[in-house]
């Protein structure tokens, strides 16, 4: 009796195991618990290739309007970008954009980096943040656009902006949007704490933070994220830090000054606020952080010009919030320094079969007022294209999120005009990762903030040396 039951159960089980084995086979790649070949995933590029739908012949996210025309593949992650692409495709008979979103920031760069190493698979035109341009120029991944008529559009951009996208006498990307910085603040929280005017200097900012805390408010003044990367770099730059001297004309030499006075001043300032419990220390760009930005946990959001767009798209917002924009606090009110966080451009990759057509796309896609109106109103981009940047339309644009405040006129246009450029390193990603590690170590109390800055400097110098640079 028992043995018959056992037999039947065993058969049932065998089927179950069969199913289990099938599942194992299917999930072996994603499971990470597979066999030793998983270790080779790193060079196989399975993660990168698996969802890199953008490259080569893969389908486009947008509709092609003229099927016979030359197609140019584009990777970009701008919000509301599909309308801009449609606009371009409708107005061009001979060139059509085939756009796909290959991920934001690092996700896209990872894929691009893999295609460079593989020698194929890159799009014709790629959206890159200005800070990573040197990293890709030094790998010969981008085309000099001077050969394809970049001069024609040069006058549409300010000199400093054009310079940020040039190297070795060439122009490697056509600027799109910028990230001049300002301070977005909760007027209602300020008023409840008796803060009548937004702080204009960092001293006032610290005093306001104290006042906010003393008033018993649940909010803290701001967040100091250890993984702030470009945000932290911008704050350091405002205090006079110029961490890198890198001239792509002389690409084996680099000067590194990450441990300068400006950086230490900023780090000491913020860690003082952290110690006093006046600011938060949440990691940036996590779900927690996003919610805290809008639910009244922070009274200010030190933001780039794309920040308002980011903010108004977040879930869980406090319905009674009253947001206003003000200029970024200054170290010396008499001598204001404007800084930039983010901003991006379109570059043509060296793998493009038709760089001429690709250059047309890079030059013209954000080269009309219609395109920019979509970019500004739906994508919340800050234009670097002068015809729209200097227009009355842009200056007088009222933002409902800020109660109708003309934030461009009040804050960001001035910040953009005062920005003098910044030099990034050709190993920016490494430097940012180390910055995150060191700031976190300091936050954990493992070392003094200034020591963290010194260690960061040493790590980046060592890395640059190991990469064959002569470090001055």
């Amino acid at each position: 009796m028992r043995s018959i039951r056992g037999q039947r159960r065993r058969r049932w089980l065998a089927a179950g195991i069969g199913a289990a084995v099938a599942v194992t086979g299917l999930t072996a790649c994603s499971g990470g618990g597979g066999t030793t070949e998983g270790a080779e995933g790193a060079e196989g590029g399975e993660t990168a290739e698996g969802d890199a739908s953008g490259g080569g012949e893969a389908g486009c996210t947008n509709q092609i309007k003229v099927p016979d025309a030359e197609q140019v593949t584009v990777w970009a992650w701008y919000p509301a970008f599909e309308s801009v692409v449609d606009l371009f495709n409708e107005s061009h008979e001979d060139i059509q954009i085939c756009w796909s979103n290959a991920g934001q920031g690092n996700d896209e760069y990872t894929k691009f980096s893999t295609t460079i190493e593989a020698g194929s698979g890159a799009p014709d035109v790629i959206m890159l943040e200005t800070e990573v341009l040197p990293s890709f120029i030094i790998r010969d991944a981008l085309v000099d656009l001077n050969e394809y008529g970049a001069d024609e559009v040069k006058d549409n951009y300010s000199e400093g902006v054009w310079e940020d996208h040039s190297a070795q006498g060439g122009v490697y990307a056509i600027p799109v949007d910028g990230g001049p910085m300002g301070m977005l603040y909760r007027e209602d929280l300020f008023q409840a704490a008796g803060i009548t005017a937004p702080p204009t200097t960092w001293d006032e900012f610290a005093a306001a933070a104290q006042q906010l805390k003393d008033s018993g408010s649940e909010a803290v003044m701001a967040d100091f994220p250890t993984n702030g990367r470009a945000f932290l770099q911008a704050l350091f730059a405002q205090a006079g830090s110029e961490p890198y001297v890198f001239d792509p004309d002389n690409p084996t030499e680099v000067e590194i000054n990450l441990d300068d006075e400006g950086t230490k001043k900023v780090v000491d300032y913020w860690f003082d606020l952290v110690d006093k419990g006046l600011v938060g220390t949440d990691d940036a760009f996590t779900t927690d952080y996003n919610t805290k930005l809008v639910d009244g946990s922070y009274a200010t959001y030190l933001a780039a010009a794309w920040g308002p767009g980011y903010l108004s798209g977040l879930e869980g917002a406090d319905p009674d919030a009253v947001w206003r924009a003000a200029p970024l606090p200054q170290w010396d009110a008499a001598d204001p320094v404007q800084v930039n966080w983010g901003g991006s451009a379109f570059a043509v990759t060296s793998q493009s079969d038709n760089p001429e057509a690709a250059a047309v796309v890079a030059k013209e896609i954000f080269g009309t007022e219609e395109a920019w109106k979509i970019g500004i109103e739906e994508g919340a981009l800050f234009p670097l294209w002068l015809p729209i940047l200097e227009s009355d339309y842009f200056r007088d644009l009222e933002y409902p999120f800020f109660g109708g405040q003309k934030i461009n006129q009040d804050v960001f246009m001035e910040a953009a005009a005062g920005y003098e450029g910044f030099t990034f390193s050709p190993f920016q990603n490494f430097a940012y990762d180390k910055l995150t590690e060191q700031m976190f170590a300091a936050l954990q109390g493992e070392k003094e903030p200034e020591q963290a800055v010194d260690d960061l400097h040493q790590q980046v110098v060592d890395y640059a040396t190991s990469q064959g640079f002569t470090v001055n």
Binding site: R2, S3, G6, R10, L13, I17, A20, V21, V23, T24, T27, A28, S30, G31, G32, G33, G34, T35, T36, E37, G38, A39, E40, G41, A42, E43, G44, T47, A48, N106, Y109, T110, S113, T114, I116, E117, S135, I138, R139, T226, P251, T252, D283, T286, T287, D288, T291, K292, P426, N429, F430, D433, T436, E437, F440, L443, Q444, Q467, G468, F469
Partner: protein, 320 residues
């Protein structure tokens, strides 16, 4: 590889040992013809195997013998990358972490899955069937999604931790803080994999002839004695099998830390595990050559670890 192994491990006694082929007696011509046909049948698999495993492996090894720096370009450097890898504090720190992690994780996982499998084997009602399925379900959830889900459960703002600890008046621990991240990951991995190992052990338990239990009972053995003295020794080869799976999987730990990095950038750095380090080197810092060397160096560690383990357990495993 894992498929065949798990079937073998699942029901070792049911598999009669095949006598060694008597090649000497067969006429040489026929054997050769047979061999040719054999290759033909293996060919489809072989093509995939060579294209997607052997060739990339050889290419990666070739890459690991070169060095390409941002400023100076590529050149042949022999085993320099390996010398660098085994003296790279970040790599060694990662290796140290995964070894410590395996030392804690594997016993915990084995005890949980063994205990559950023994209980489920002793029960025969519907509840047992249901429980078996529910314990297995986490394994059916893709690892990436599982990790993201735990990211939310651990979140101080969205997760239930604050509420649960609030009930007894305690502050909830931040599970992904540097001090707790070890335990946090331990929990995620155990949750995900214990069910899978439980099924393997359970299958092995069902393969035991029930008459042995009857004999034990007639001799006066209690249920506990049957479980510990009869069942466990008889499934030791399945236990060794899951140990090897767990060991290899843990030494290559990647997915969970990679996913949770985005919510705990401080606790999980770029070199948290060796695989994560290789990934970062290759794709964030474009050091493909050094990343290849790190991967092979990790391969050496994994191979040494698994081999040592199999050697030590060769009597129990039946895999010798």
């Amino acid at each position: 590889m894992s498929q065949t192994l798990s079937v073998e491990g699942a029901a070792p006694p049911a598999r009669p040992t095949t006598p060694a082929p008597r090649r000497r007696n067969a006429p040489g011509g026929v054997a050769r013809a047979r061999q040719r046909f054999g290759w033909l049948f293996v060919a489809p698999f072989l093509v995939v195997f060579v294209t997607f495993l052997i060739v990339p492996l050889v290419y990666a090894f070739w890459m690991s013998l070169h060095t390409k720096t941002l400023a100076l370009g590529e050149r042949f450097t022999g085993f320099d990358n390996y010398a660098q890898a085994f003296s790279d504090p970040q790599f060694l720190q990662g290796v140290g972490f995964v070894i410590r992690f395996s030392l804690v994780l594997i016993p915990v996982q084995m005890l949980v899955s063994l205990a559950v499998a023994l209980v489920l084997d002793a029960l025969t009602d519907r509840l047992a069937k249901f429980a078996r399925l529910m314990i297995f379900v986490p394994y059916a959830i893709p690892v990436v999604i599982g990790a993201m889900m735990w990211g939310f459960l651990y979140s101080p703002r969205f997760g239930p931790m604050a509420d649960i600890f609030g009930l007894v008046g305690l502050d909830a621990p931040v599970m992904l803080s540097p001090d707790n991240v070890f335990a946090g990951l331990l929990n995620v991995v155990t949750w995900q994999w214990a069910g899978y190992y439980m099924i393997i052990i359970y299958a092995a338990l069902r393969g035991i002839d029930p008459s042995i239990y009857e004999a034990a009972r007639i001799d006066g053995a209690t249920n506990t004695q049957i479980a510990l003295r009869i069942k466990v020794p008889m499934i030791s080869s399945a236990l060794v099998l899951i140990l090897v799976f767990a060991l290899i999987g843990t030494l290559q730990f990647f997915t969970e830390p990679q996913i949770l990095r985005s919510v705990a950038a401080g606790s999980i750095d770029a070199a948290f595990t060796p695989n994560l380090y290789a990934f970062t080197l290759a794709f964030s810092y474009s050091q493909f050559n050094y990343a290849s060397a790190i991967s092979f160096a990790l391969g050496v560690v994994v191979f040494a670890g698994s081999y040592l383990f199999l050697f030590l357990t060769r009597k129990k495993s039946g895999l010798s």
